[in-house]
């Protein structure tokens, strides 16, 4: 079974959705490339599931356009969209066995019995459920149900597959295993996939690109590594990974934190107020408070140290009362120089790791 050749791009333009007078999606634009694994990531209420439901045709937008490979589908009924869908609770049909669940889309398309049997068998192979066709749905484990739902969504070789938090009902170990398996399956079949989750780690593990959503808008659309390394808004910086923020100001072509000049690797943005993103793992303890070239130094007072076995976390307070967090591995050279709580400390941040974002 190969789906790659028929994978199609999706282009969404100006999607608007209001529930009553409450806006859920506002003028949303998003392009999904053919064969791409794109994740909609965001907190609950960010509109990610609504967007997925609009894509599938279960929720009607108030305005907008969805083109799949050039065809407008915004008013196409769901059964004519040819989009596979996996729900959070799987929505397997309890009155049918595994075989008939997976054969359902083929039956709707009038596929002959022999071919149906063959394709269901292949789909079962693909999700590693060989020989379970006769099982009743309630005899399956959570992971198996998940696989049946997946097999059912891909057996008819849809142009697009949509998944709404499909792994959230599984326990942690199985979930991580399924993430890798889903990813491998996607590589193999190459169908355009839109995946919804609120779990940033899951999004980073699986996606080609991630659209971070907040308040009905896409805050940033990027590759997972760029999203982490170069967040563009305070929301993205705090939603993906841990961050502390300190306010900085841009004037006369350079960046200032209080009276200290901040070194950045990127070009200095336009004049105005910004926030500097401080990731705990990017900071390091300095032996001296003296400024070094290419390193930004922050002087603070150590308030607490928490050992976590392989690593430790330092909490410090800046002069203006803002909290800083630093995480590092427990190496003896670092531990030897560790000051005691209450003593002054200096944290260093390399210019390459110094990120500025606009304040929300």
């Amino acid at each position: 079974m190969s789906i790659a050749p028929s994978a199609l791009p999706i282009g969404m333009r100006g999607i608007e959705k209001r529930f009553g007078s409450v806006p859920v999606l506002r003028d949303l634009n998003l392009d999904v490339e053919a064969g791409e694994f794109l994740t909609l990531l965001g907190p609950s209420g960010s509109g990610k599931t609504t967007l997925l439901m609009i894509l599938a045709g279960f929720v009607r937008a108030n305005a907008g356009s969805i083109r799949v490979g050039g065809d407008e589908i915004i008013t196409t009924p769901p059964h004519k969209r040819n989009i596979g869908m996996v729900f959070q609770n799987y929505a397997l049909f309890p009155h049918m066995n595994v075989f008939h669940n997976i054969a359902f889309p083929l039956k709707q398309r009038g596929v002959a019995a022999a071919e149906t049997a063959e394709r269901v068998e292949k789909a079962l192979d693909l999700v590693k459920l060989q020989g379970l066709g006769e099982r009743r749905v309630d005899q399956l484990s959570g992971g198996q149900r998940q696989r049946v739902a997946l097999a059912r969504a891909i057996v008819f070789e849809p142009r697009i597959v949509l998944m709404d938090e499909p792994l959230s009902a599984l326990d942690k170990g199985l979930r991580e295993h399924m993430q890798i398996e889903l990813r491998a399956l996607h590589r193999r079949l190459g169908m355009t996939t839109v995946y919804v989750t609120h779990d940033q780690r899951e999004a980073i593990t699986m996606s080609d690109r991630i659209a971070v959503m907040n308040g009905g808008r896409i805050e940033q659309l990027d590759k997972p590594e760029s999203l982490y390394a170069r967040p563009q808004t305070q929301f993205v910086a705090s939603f993906i990974g841990e961050s502390n923020f300190i306010p900085v100001e841009c004037r006369n072509g350079s960046v200032w934190y209080e009276d200290r000049r901040i070194h950045t690797a990127a070009a200095t943005p336009a004049a105005g107020q910004y926030l500097m993103v401080l990731r705990p793992e990017k900071l390091r303890l300095l032996a001296t408070a003296e400024p070094t070239s290419g390193v930004n130094v922050l002087n603070a007072t150590l308030s607490d140290i928490i050992y976590q076995g392989d690593s430790f976390v330092c909490y410090a307070v800046l002069r203006d009362g803002r909290q800083l967090t630093l995480r590092d591995y427990c190496r003896s050279d670092v531990l030897a120089k560790m000051p005691a709580p209450g003593q002054p400390v200096s944290f260093g941040l390399d210019a390459q790791d110094t990120i500025l974002v606009a304040a929300d």
Binding site: A56, P77, P78, H79, I83, A91, F93, P94, Q108
Partner: protein, 266 residues
């Protein structure tokens, strides 16, 4: 100690409660039992327990053309009511369950109106209306009137089935290529069929046992069993009615058991 409740009150301390509750249960069930037993009496006098046993009242019932015709009318009307009320009620429940229509509250109130409006008023009103359009003493008229009375029960029963059904299943069926009708028939319907069957059974009993409206709008060749019984009871206490009542009680027991069995399998 009661295992469900586990309060530190012993069953012995509660004995008075069980006695009282038991007496009330007896009050509820005894009349039916007495009627069933008396229907097998040989005597025209209503003695209890009967001195002699016989099936003579059943013979009178089944032998009488009048009673038989009335029974046939009632059965016909009840079956037709089921056939009309079940699909209509199911369709209405489905639409209400979607909950996207603007006047859902008003629609609900309208559909359950026949539970709230006093039956006597419905009876007089229907008679008044039917007199103008010539539907009094017709099967059609009876079926329409009984359908209106059975509708809320079907709607409420099917609605409770739909509420415990996961609508995502119908959604997923749609995404897999099933049209609206196909998704309903192949996925939703098999999963709410027990509620639909229960609703149909309730519709049957409602129609078959309906008295007040039938008193006004049935008569002549379309006299229902309940109307004939009502008239007979106004005149005298005929033991034949004990036999008919027993049949009605058995019917209720059977239909309720069927509903119960369906419900449990669900």
């Amino acid at each position: 100690m009661s295992e469900d409740v586990g309060l530190p009150i012993s069953h012995r301390q509660r004995l008075w409660l069980y006695c009282l509750g038991g007496l009330v249960l007896l009050f509820l069930i005894a009349p039916s039992i007495i009627i069933v037993i008396m229907s097998f009496s040989d005597s025209t006098l209503l003695q209890f327990p009967p001195q002699q046993w016989s099936l003579r009242w059943y013979q009178t019932y089944f032998g009488s053309l009048e009673w038989r015709d009335a029974t046939i009318v009632s059965v016909k009307v009840a079956i037709m009511t089921v056939l009309v009320a079940t699909p209509l009620g199911t369709a209405a429940a489905y639409a209400i369950n979607r909950g996207t229509l603007r006047f859902n509250g008003t629609i609900n109130a309208l559909l359950t109106a026949s539970l709230i409006v006093p039956v006597i008023l419905i009876g007089i009103g229907t008679f008044f209306l039917y007199a103008r359009i010539g539907l009094n003493n017709t099967l059609t008229g009876l079926v329409i009137a009984h359908t209106v009375q059975a509708l809320p029960l079907v709607v409420l029963t099917v609605l409770s089935g739909l509420r415990s059904y996961d609508m995502n299943q119908e959604r997923v069926a749609r995404s897999l290529g099933a049209g609206r009708v196909a998704a309903f028939w192949q996925v939703t319907m098999p999963q709410i069929r027990f509620s639909i069957v229960s609703g149909a059974l309730f519709a049957f009993i409602t129609s078959f046992d309906e008295v007040v409206v039938s008193l006004f709008i049935s008569g002549g060749e379309t006299t229902t069993l309940t109307r004939r019984m009502f008239n007979a009871l106004r005149d005298q206490i005929d033991p034949t009615i004990a036999a008919i009542s027993t049949c009605l009680i058995v019917l209720s027991v059977v239909l309720l058991s069927v509903a119960q069995i369906f419900g449990r399998r669900h």
